[in-house]
Symmetry: C2
Subunit: 762 residues, 2 copies
């Protein structure tokens, strides 16, 4: 990485100071004169017909300015992949917490009081909470009209039926032949719970119309431009009349990829004709935003006695809740299910299934943590049964560069082998355990990275400084810093000379959102391409002004050089200062890209090639765990994360992502679970919903191994998702090593360990 | 114009409602928490050496947060054409009103009190106020170091000397031969005063730094991007770290093309570390902002007995005041001096001269009103003396399409002939006057239009609506509306589907500023080109998706058609909605242009061709005036303005410009004059500085004649400047017709008429 001046350098986040000083504005900091406060009335039944909503009393309460229900809005559904949800329930409610009405009032208390004055007459319907139950004939049906729902992927005949909203199959080789050729076959079922992204900042939006009928929405979001489009379609406003200003994001992790508070705020502001803020409470976050899909993973694996994987069949059920808003998580789960391994015979089938619970969606890892827990747990079991070192069995089967996925995707950057070796080394894998209740565990995997539409503009000013306008949002992960590094590197100017304008839909251009590790890899690619475009305009100008050959020019340290000539031809600012009054046009580089997106359909899998995801990142985690046999309590003592994320743009940022991802994985493995009884979330707060705290932290260490992805800027891939996926199986595997019990259902609580230990004793 | 759907339509200004409702934000409406108020200490001497500035007492005043002088800032001068001015005087002051120091305090009163506590020790120097005096040997020299000043035009040896800061010569044919071949020769001298643009809103800026060291400046300006560049260079800040947000402009007329309050606000905010507002008073506007150059125009014209113009020599002296900030006004005056006439032998020489008065600069008409008053007055005299109808003499000599200017500029759109004919018709020229004190007057002329660098981005959204990001500012003239019409026409979508984002340097791209009629013509051209670029991307996408030939497609009414097929191929929104998730990139059209700019040098005139100005607009005014022989009071009864401004984008807007321009010309002709005694402005307020009021209004009518300018969007030219230039000479000519006296010095006051009448009687 020595060839780069800015890429690969440890540069502080550009917004570090404003956040540290408390100057960074979050959506809740937006306070407009005369602003009203919006509150949402939510369903108290998991499944019920709405017979009547009486808002008259609420409307008469002093201080209430407007009350709206579905009846006041166009009957339009939304959803990026499957169009199944409305702002407010219409006809029936499908989960406890579903929005039924909203109120805007002069203060929050008045708004809350008004909610209590709204009468909703329901006719309760039978509900279903378990996805396997929901797939059975005779189960209560959530969406009677599902068959006619619009999808953004080609519909397959019969793939949407009953409560099944999604079905895809990935195949390679012949699974039955594979099992026939195997020496041993392993069959297991694993379960992972519904969990919440648990960002600190709840969904908050402030909407204000101006006298020209244009609305500005300040919000917390990972996807301002898609919010703009969705608010437009839901409320019948032109896209051009909506401005979305994303404030600093107080955590997202995938949970801010929905459009939830925005259309409510806009609809209320439109009717009240004054600005309206809608700020969700923590409870609302838990009961009515997206969560990680709970999943049931059945896995049947055939192996040779030497540990060679021969066949793998996986059957996945993803519980989408009442609305399948992010059903592509199920697709991505299927895509990564059999793992980063060479397996000749593969069949993966995934079902997305409606249940009467809050919708599932994106959450760091995005479909993969569920399947990775299953597969990596089973692989550990296979290794133990075959008496092969768990490290060895992974090294023996893992992908190499150039391998082709069952989907036909050729992998251009793969260094998983080195992540396994380094993780084992760093945890001290070879050291034998003296303490009998303590053991190492290891797991590896891969996650999809990048793709979908984005754009970027890079202007170069008269003084040689640059401004980057990117539609992508920095949700705290340091994207603004990374994009600035990429542009600075490409332009050959100093990091300090770059300013990044991000997110505001008035000043930036379409980006589909920051999720699926597409920030650095895809929006970074657009930033690099826009910078290249600007650079070529600069070289043309230099060539014209100074009679040089544009092909022989390069930029470094803010100066233009001719290749092979050590003395600079001209400082960039001297060239560009002329462009204001004399020759030369304003330098405006542009890039607008849309890496191919496949239809989510079996046909795709049976031969089509595609760039979505653009690439994959690879990771291994190794942990050392001690189990208290008396209490069952597992303690993760050390954890090591090693990632192959291509060229690292900013090591501080990448390492922060690995550490953070491992902690998310730790929570997924040991603590986090939304407890739901008859559709009611029992622990909708941070007292009862346990995320890891400082006291739960192992000694964390991390490393990055090199690879170069030719479709990423300077070879970069993403690094947000893959560190999450290995912690749970590595911990589970270590627990097995320590005390000999294998827990197949997350989270791995002391109770489950104790119970298993007791079972073993019996 | 029937071929267009939106261009040529009477569409209300997009910001009409927000202005009518009082919602439009002007710079003075920006109020930031903790904001300080800045005040400027100004020179009390027209010319003096600064010996010492003592700010200690001021700094100690309670409530004062910072005091700055030139010593606190980098020693950097600025100026777009001639780099001769600083934010604060350094070493010496050159006019009464020049900034010497500034204070930021908790309120305006405290700031004013602090100014009184600053002691400046001056050593008075001899001053010069008359430009002809200033050109004489031995005159006090304002800029001793002038020779070494940087210029943005190539310096000619010996063209800057003494107080002469600018000299240019335009020649055609041989002037002496011309006079030798003439039957009669006329020689006259005309004088026009220093006058003020008299916009209602004084210069106001609010500057606020954020914790990352980036500053936002809310201001009232015609050129946000150039302000950004100039604040950058003056204060040593990177361009990318400055955001200029132009608020609604409360009138500009050229007077908001300087950078005056901005750097003071930024410098104070930087030191005080809190936001600072600097708002000029009306008096400050009069004594320390730009004014129209006062000018002395000597004109010697040779004609044939039949009225054919043979030779014209003009010698112009433009009084630049103490700083030649907009010396190109002198150049443009020279460029248009001999008028829109075919004259074989021409010599124009112009001098820009320093005097100890506030700087001169741009003001509607931009150099031409001064010379047009002279030439059109003299032409009337020639017509009378030759007994030729003033209308006929103009028609006989005026330019036709394809004629070439003395500068070598070929005129591609000329319809002045028709403006003369229509103006004469509309005023009722042929009707004989019965009342002896009443007469008609006519004058015509042309003004430069367009040129210099600009850029534009046009994005087309998923619903087929469009957003235009333009660096150009709407200063009330309706530019946002016009640009939206241009883009809508080019894209074939509805006007209502377009939103224009203008001016904010974070969300728009370089434009040099709105002056010299470059709004519709040049920034409009960029908008059209960006829309064309977007359209070609749309057609490529349509071709790819629908197997059409992109060359055969066109857009109309938001739908894509194949040429010759009446049924639309696909609605635009249906095509573009796919581009989010499926094929197709975000549609982002871009244009970045810089119509050639000439060096302001005799060499240019002697052969170089150039596109600057891009083109010319032509206009005629005809008036009917009655003079009260007892009081000398002239009353303009009727006034007609007819313009050739190419294709009209918005007739309401164009007609408003013509009416407004005629009123500005009326004030220039009859009322406005900054009375200056020993460098002191005696009438720095609207009580004593008289602009036309409702009571002074004639019956106004106006018309537009067609032409098509191939370098403008849909053939459009500008229309802001040319209506201004003809009123003063038309009125002067009418007064001559009415009472037989010819006033050669503006404004034409009753006193001057009375005095001339008395002189004639003697």
């Amino acid at each position: 990485m020595e060839e780069y001046s800015i890429v690969g350098k440890r540069i502080s986040k550009v917004d570090a100071q404003s956040k540290a000083l408390g100057e960074a504005k979050y959506a809740i900091d937006i306070y407009l004169p005369g602003m009203l406060h919006g509150k949402v009335l939510r369903s108290i039944h998991p499944h019920a017909r709405i017979l009547r909503i009486d808002t008259e009393k609420a409307k008469r309460l002093r201080g209430v300015k407007t009350v709206i229900t579905a009846e006041d809005l166009p009957d339009i559904k939304y959803g990026n992949w499957l169009v199944d949800m409305r702002i407010f329930a219409r006809g029936k409610v499908r989960y406890i917490g579903e929005p039924v009405a909203a109120v805007a009032a002069v203060d929050e208390d008045t708004a809350s009081e008004a909610l209590e004055l709204i009468t909703v007459e329901y006719e309760e319907l039978p509900a279903v909470f378990d996805p396997e139950q929901a797939m059975l004939p005779g189960a209560p049906i959530l969406h009677e009209d599902l068959k006619h729902y619009e999808t953004r992927f080609p519909k397959k005949e019969g793939s949407m039926f009953g409560n099944v909203n999604y079905n895809a199959i990935i195949q390679q080789g012949d699974i039955e032949t594979g099992f026939a050729n195997s020496d041993m076959i392993f069959e297991d079922t694993f379960r992972t719970p519904k969990s919440h992204a648990s960002y600190l900042e709840p969904h908050t939006s402030v909407a204000a119309f101006d006298s020209e009928g244009r609305v500005t929405v300040w919000t917390t979001t990972q996807r301002p431009h898609l919010n703009q489009v969705i608010v437009s379609s839901l409320l019948g406003l032109q896209v051009s009349k909506i401005r979305v200003i994303p404030c600093h994001v107080g955590g997202g992790y995938g949970g801010k990829t929905r459009t939830l508070s925005e259309p409510i705020a806009v609809a209320l502001a439109q009717r009240a004709n004054v600005p309206v803020r809608v700020a969700f409470s923590r409870e609302e976050e838990f009961i009515s935003t997206t969560t990680r899909h709970s999943a049931i993973t059945k896995i049947k694996t055939g192996v040779k006695r030497d540990g060679t994987l021969v066949a793998c069949r996986m059957d996945l059920v993803f519980d989408t809740g009442a609305y399948a808003q992010t059903i592509n998580a199920a697709w991505l789960g299927a895509l990564t299910a059999v793992g980063p391994y060479r397996i000749p015979h593969v069949k993966v089938e995934v079902f997305g299934v409606y249940t009467n619970k809050t919708m599932s969606g994106a959450f760091r890892g995005y479909g993969t943590p569920q399947v990775n827990f299953a597969r990596e747990s089973q692989l550990d079991k296979i290794a133990h049964d075959l008496n092969i070192d768990p490290v060895e069995i992974r090294l023996k089967n893992c992908f190499k560069k150039g391998d082709v996925q069952p989907t036909g995707h050729k992998l251009v950057s793969v260094n998983i082998e080195k992540t396994i070796i380094e993780a084992a080394e760093k945890i001290g894998w070879k050291k034998s355990q003296k303490n009998k209740n303590r053991a190492f565990g290891i797991a590896c995997g891969f996650t999809p990275c990048g793709g979908l539409a984005t754009s970027c503009i890079v202007r170069v000013n008269q003084d040689g400084t640059a401004v980057v306008n990117s539609g992508a949002v920095d949700m705290g992960q340091g994207l603004k810093t990374a994009l600035s590094q990429i542009v600075g590197e490409e332009l050959g100017i100093n990091f300090e000379d770059i300013t990044l304008i991000s997110g505001d839909t008035d000043s930036t251009y379409f980006d589909v959102g920051i999720f699926s590790d597409r920030g650095t890899h895809t929006t970074g690619l657009a930033a690099k391409m826009a910078a290249m475009d600007a650079k070529s305009q600069i070289f043309d100008l230099a060539a014209e002004e100074l009679e040089a050959n544009p092909d022989e020019l390069y930029l470094h340290d803010g100066k233009i050089f001719v290749k092979g000539v050590p003395k600079p031809l001209i400082p960039l600012k001297d060239l560009l200062s002329r462009s204001v009054f004399k020759k030369g046009r304003p330098i405006i580089g542009r890039a607008s890209i849309n890496p191919d997106t496949p239809p989510m359909d079996i046909k795709y899998v049976q031969g089509a090639t595609s760039k979505f995801p653009s690439t994959y990142t690879f990771a291994t985690a190794a942990v050392e765990v001690e189990v208290d046999r008396d209490t069952g309590k597992p303690t993760v003592i050390k954890a090591v994360g090693v990632n192959d994320c291509g060229t690292v743009i900013n090591p501080d940022g990448a390492e922060g992502q690995i550490d953070g991802g491992m902690v998310t994985g730790l929570g997924f493995g040991l603590f986090e679970e939304m407890l739901i009884e008859n559709g009611q979330v029992l622990n909708p707060n941070f007292l009862e919903y346990r995320i890891p705290t400082a006291l739960d932290m192992p000694v964390l260490s991390r490393a990055i191994v090199e690879s170069y992805d030719e479709n990423g800027p300077f070879g970069a891939k993403g690094v947000g998702n893959s560190p999450v996926i290995n912690m749970a199986p590595a911990i589970a595997n270590a627990i097995y090593g320590a005390v000999g019990v294998r827990i197949k259902e997350l989270p791995i609580t002391p109770e489950k360990i104790l119970e298993s230990l007791e079972e073993r004793r019996r």
